[in-house]
């Protein structure tokens, strides 16, 4: 639903996300506020938001594979891992700067995913998810068996710090700004992909993969492309994560993390990139809140400690995912749209 008094004269105008001048102004102010945030936020908060933004890029990729193209991907964190390791190898072994190492990591993750998307030529639907589980199983084995000089074997790899024009990017604030820039670029890509030719092909495949080829969509090509794009996002996220945590090990990228990514996407809503962003924010907020409450309780109730807190968060998370599927299968994005529409027609209940 749009603000009143809007008439479209071209297709491009109809596809635009920001229509009115106030909308553009508020959006610009929002972006500026994001850049200024480290000046007001505490170091802990800025760090949390940094990790959130890194996760968002991975979940945005997942939204393209799972939400847009409808291919279940249970191996997203393996592709994040590939990105992280390749970025680390580029930065350590070849001393490339971060703005080259991270894209190389992303591309390599994408190329790896093509290998696992290839069975899409024959295998359909749920069976295809099997190959992504295979990717997840192979990843730690491959890392620990490849020559130690490539990826550090089972020891993991230590990262250098980011450098730009000879200056070291230092501290939570610096990393926050780099992550923010990457996030803005990739969010824009995800939103634009949705309304491009490729994005429409993805949506057709998601809606019905028998009808899509009848309409002239090359099923195999677009399925593989969906895996590729999703994995490139994952790889970029992995590269940023490597620089953020400064140490990469294979244990950071588990099947469990892939499952959590899917959960985030579900809660936010799969049909829009906005869902990925909402999902990450909501789940991080849930985790941080239970952590806070748990920290408060652990001083007062004897049996509440770290060993109970982490699983308790998971109970909450699982229950929220199932509840969202039952009560709002379109995720929080739909609630957000309903709220927006209600605000626009207020105070007249029928517009």
């Amino acid at each position: 639903m749009l603000p009143s008094g809007i008439i479209f004269k071209s297709y491009a105008a109809e596809e635009a996300f920001l229509v009115t001048r106030p909308q553009k102004l508020v959006f610009a102010l929002f972006i500026v506020a994001l850049f200024l945030f480290p000046m007001v936020g505490s170091t802990y908060l800025v760090g949390t938001v940094s990790v959130m933004m890194i996760t968002m890029i991975a979940v945005l990729g997942l939204q393209i594979t799972v939400g847009m193209a409808g291919q279940i991907n249970l191996g997203q964190s393996a592709f994040v891992g590939v990105g992280a390791y390749v970025t680390a190898a580029m930065a350590v072994n070849y001393e490339l700067p971060f703005w080259l190492a991270i894209p190389i990591g992303g591309l390599t993750a994408g190329l790896t995913s093509i290998l696992f998307g290839l069975p899409a030529a024959r295998i359909k639907g749920f069976y295809l998810a099997l190959t992504t589980v295979a990717a997840q199983v192979m990843f730690p084995l491959a890392i620990s068996r490849l020559p130690q000089s490539w990826f550090g074997g089972s020891n993991g790899m230590s990262m250098p710090s980011m450098e730009l024009f000879g200056y070291e990017i230092w501290g939570q604030t610096g990393l926050y700004l780099v992550n923010l820039c990457f996030l803005i670029v990739f969010t824009t890509l995800a939103f634009n992909l949705q309304r491009s030719r490729v994005g429409r092909a993805f949506i057709a495949i998601r809606e019905n993969d028998v009808v899509a080829p009848v309409m002239g969509i090359n099923l195999v090509k677009y399925k593989i492309l969906a895996f590729f794009i999703g994995a490139v996002f994952a790889g970029i996220s992995g590269g940023l994560y490597a620089y953020y945590v400064t140490y990469v090990t294979a244990e950071q990228f588990t099947l469990w993390l892939s499952v959590i990514y899917l959960g985030m996407l579900l809660i936010g809503g799969m049909t829009s990139p906005l869902g990925a962003i909402f999902g990450v924010i909501i789940i991080t907020f849930l985790q941080e809140t239970t952590h806070e409450i748990g920290g408060y309780l652990s001083g007062r109730i004897s049996f509440v400690d770290e060993s109970v807190l982490f699983p308790a968060t998971n109970i909450l998370l699982g229950a929220v995912i199932i509840a969202v599927l039952i009560f709002e299968p379109h995720g929080m994005v739909r609630r957000w749209r309903i709220a927006k529409a209600a605000y626009r027609i207020w105070p007249n209940p029928h517009g």
Partner: protein, 294 residues
């Protein structure tokens, strides 16, 4: 030669263990069309229920096992009632996603209720190995294998020969058609979940008898899922046959290929094998070929 026979026969026994877990996937899918990715977690909960019956309640084994099976049947009914029944009629995608939520939920619940520490699992089957000529067979897995074959034969008879079983097959093919034929989808989903969770508990007992129980028991789920897919999600005997095939392939890979690749290939090999088979037969070895119409 002896090495070959030895690795093949232990592979078969391991494969039969995969087979019974795969069977629990198949039973649930066959009767309710739910691909339950949380089956590994269901196995884990079944194992903890059995441990609780034997160790916490202090029941003797001949009472503890029926108690554990009864509790896991109730557990199945609870999952069906509160997670999957509200999703009846939703696209299969939403159902798979709900099972992902269930993975997170069950892991968290297990760790809160029983704690993250590992504990010894009661010894249900005799320890040690049986010697047949020069070949050693693990006794627990051997008895487990026999149980698997009995279960599979019984379930195959139930699904193929009895009225109730054939009704479940109709539900697996299409919910709407089944409803219009007067078959209760609700009832068959309950049967599916009770069978699925009890089978999972049986497989947990076979797998863990006399060994160590922890949250890692859930990993069997993602090892058995490929087996179920290889056999075909609709086929009871397919699950067992695919289990044996994968078990043998894994054993052969670990005997002959692992020394060359530093122990990596035996874990990946089943996946490669399965993907290759699926490229030729996308519906699995014994699955139904569904003809799609626009």
């Amino acid at each position: 030669m002896i090495e070959l026979v030895q690795s093949l026969s232990s592979g078969v026994l391991l494969g039969l263990l995969y087979g019974i877990v795969a069977l629990s996937f198949v039973v649930i899918y066959r009767a309710s069309r739910v691909v339950n990715l949380a089956q590994g977690e269901v196995v884990m909960v079944g194992a903890f229920l059995a441990w609780m019956a034997a160790s916490s309640f202090g029941l003797p084994l001949y009472l503890a096992i029926p108690a554990a099976l009864a509790m896991s049947a109730c557990f199945g009914v609870i999952i069906e009632r509160f997670v999957f029944r509200p999703l009846t009629g939703q696209p299969i995608f939403a159902v798979v996603m709900a099972s992902i939520g269930l993975i997170i939920l069950l892991r968290g619940a297990t760790m809160v209720i029983w704690g993250p520490a590992t504990r010894p699992f009661p010894q249900v089957f005799p320890l040690g190995a049986i010697e047949i000529g020069p070949i050693l067979l693990n006794t627990a897995l051997l008895i487990g294998g026999v149980i698997t074959i009995i279960c599979a034969a019984g379930l195959n008879w139930f699904f193929m020969r009895t009225d109730a079983g054939l009704r479940l097959a109709a539900v697996a093919e299409d919910h709407t058609t089944a409803l219009s034929m007067g078959i209760s989808v609700k009832k068959s989903a309950i049967i599916a979940w009770v069978l699925g969770t009890t089978l999972a508990t049986v497989s947990a007992i076979i797998m863990l008898s006399g060994s160590v129980l922890g949250v890692t028991a859930a990993e069997i789920g993602f090892r058995a899922l490929p087996v179920a897919l290889l056999g075909g999600m609709e086929s009871v005997r397919g699950a067992v046959i695919a289990g044996v095939l994968v078990g043998m392939a894994e054993a052969l890979a670990s005997t002959y290929l692992d020394p060359l690749t530093n122990g990596a290939l035996s874990q990946i090999f089943p996946f490669i094998l399965i993907i290759l088979v699926l490229l030729i037969r996308p519906q699995g070895l014994f699955g139904w070929k569904i003809i799609e119409r626009i």
